[in-house]
């Protein structure tokens, strides 16, 4: 699917651009985007290093495993393919918690660490596992309790009661997360996705 979406964005953009005469804008759009990608990834280095350092200590001290253990009942339902006390689950819990309270800066490095742990359980390293897909469905459905940036922008726009959208947002985002989880669980049962599912590693005793 990603190949079609990617091609579709480029093809539709180019055709429409040629038809409307926005040719220079397309060139600029493509080149600026490539620059933005570098800014984003380089901007990530410091904060990545910091949180990965903290997480390494948490790992070594057994905190990540303990957290995974605490959330076991829920996590084993969402991620049945991951061994119950695997550090990946502890990192996933931390990522979701950080996202919930709006700490996006901390959430990304921890989430990427979780992905690395999940990859250590993957027999086919270029293919996503069911656990990765489930984690992404939760992560991309925005689980934030307070949409802090949105509220800040409402303050800037002069809203009489900037926080009046919080209840509605919370309800809407809960629905989107629920639908994301249901969708990912349904989709993983489709024949096509069953066939492409990487086989579990023979020896799953200990994580990375």
């Amino acid at each position: 699917m990603i190949n079609y979406v990617w091609f579709g964005l480029i093809a539709i953009g180019t055709i429409v651009g040629f038809a409307t005469g926005n040719i220079q804008a397309i060139t600029d759009g493509a080149i600026n985007a490539a620059k933005t990608a570098i800014d984003l990834s380089f901007g990530l280095i410091g904060i990545m290093a910091m949180w990965l350092g903290i997480m390494a200590i948490a790992d070594e001290a057994g905190l990540v495993k303990k957290l995974a253990h605490l959330m076991k009942p829920l996590m084993s339902k969402l991620f049945p393919d991951v061994p119950p006390d695997h550090p990946a689950l502890g990192n996933i819990v931390l990522n979701i918690a950080a996202n919930m309270i709006g700490l996006g800066n901390a959430a990304t490095p921890i989430g990427l660490k979780a992905f690395k742990e999940l990859q250590s359980l993957n027999s086919t390293t270029d293919t996503a596992t069911n656990a990765m897909c489930t984690f992404m469905a939760i992560n991309t459905s925005q689980v934030q309790i307070i949409a802090a940036t949105t509220v800040a922008l409402r303050v800037a726009a002069g809203a009489t009661n900037p926080t009046d959208i919080i209840g509605a947002t919370l309800l809407a985002t809960t629905i989107s997360t629920a639908v994301g989880i249901i969708a990912v669980k349904l989709f993983e049962k489709l024949p096509k996705n069953r066939a492409s599912c990487p086989a579990p590693l023979a020896n799953l005793s200990e994580g990375a």
């Binding site: 699917m1 990603i2 480029i10 953009g13 180019t14 429409v16 651009g17 926005n22 804008a25 397309i26 759009g29 493509a30 985007a33 933005t36 990608a37 990834s41 380089f42 280095i45 290093a49 990965l52 903290i54 390494a56 200590i57 948490a58 070594e60 001290a61 950080a98 309270i101 700490l103 901390a106 490095p109 990427l112 992905f115 999940l118 390293t125 270029d126 293919t127 897909c133 992404m136 469905a137 925005q142 309790i145 307070i146 949409a147 922008l153 002069g158 959208i165 919080i166 509605a168 809407a172 989107s176 629920a178 639908v179 994301g180 969708a183 990912v184 989709f187 996705n193 492409s196 599912c197």
Partner: protein
């Protein structure tokens, strides 16, 4: 009240987490400084590994956005959006939101400026912004960081979540603020 509590939590969270983790590490006799630096080493590699995936994704999105295809698509789909009670002005934002966080935010700000932050459209835009996320960017970064190219059903499931978030934002806003 609820908001205040959450504000306090997010204010204290990071320093508390850091001192807690390092403190427990010390108690458990972890060589905290050495382990930190060893873990931090991975940061550089991860950030570098996502570059090709990010360039690919942002380039395609950049071309699509710059071409003005968004407006055309919005016009094309307007019969459907009218049917579910989505104002035509908001539809481009629903389209751009999964593709670009800054783009979605810019549109939300523009809508608030144009129609007022307390209007139905202004509020709906805010709810939508909070209920959905930049799916394409997140998938590119996460799968890119471990070199996974076949992402299977993660994109379709994540887009379903976005669609649900957009529809929920429209319906809930119409009921609460309409």
């Amino acid at each position: 009240m609820f908001v205040k509590i959450l504000e306090v939590i997010s204010l204290y969270a990071i320093p508390v987490i850091i001192i807690f983790v390092v403190g427990v590490g010390m108690l458990k006799k972890v060589k905290v400084y050495e382990v930190f630096t060893e873990g931090a080493k991975e940061g550089f590699g991860t950030a570098i590994r996502i570059i090709p995936f990010l360039v690919a994704m942002l380039m395609a999105i950049g071309i699509f956005r710059a071409s003005g295809a968004m407006g055309m698509l919005a016009k094309l789909l307007s019969p459907i959006t009218n049917l579910i009670g989505m104002p035509a002005e908001i539809f481009p934002m629903a389209l751009i939101r999964p593709l670009s966080g800054s783009g979605g935010q810019a549109m939300m700000t523009t809508l608030m400026k144009e129609f007022g932050p307390d209007s139905l459209i202004g509020r709906m835009a805010c709810v939508m912004n909070g209920a959905t996320d930049t799916t394409f960017y997140i998938l590119a970064v996460y799968f890119g960081s471990i070199g996974v190219k076949k992402i299977r059903h993660s994109l379709s499931a994540s887009l379903m979540a976005d669609l649900a978030g957009i529809l929920a934002a429209v319906v809930i806003s119409n009921i609460m603020f309409g």
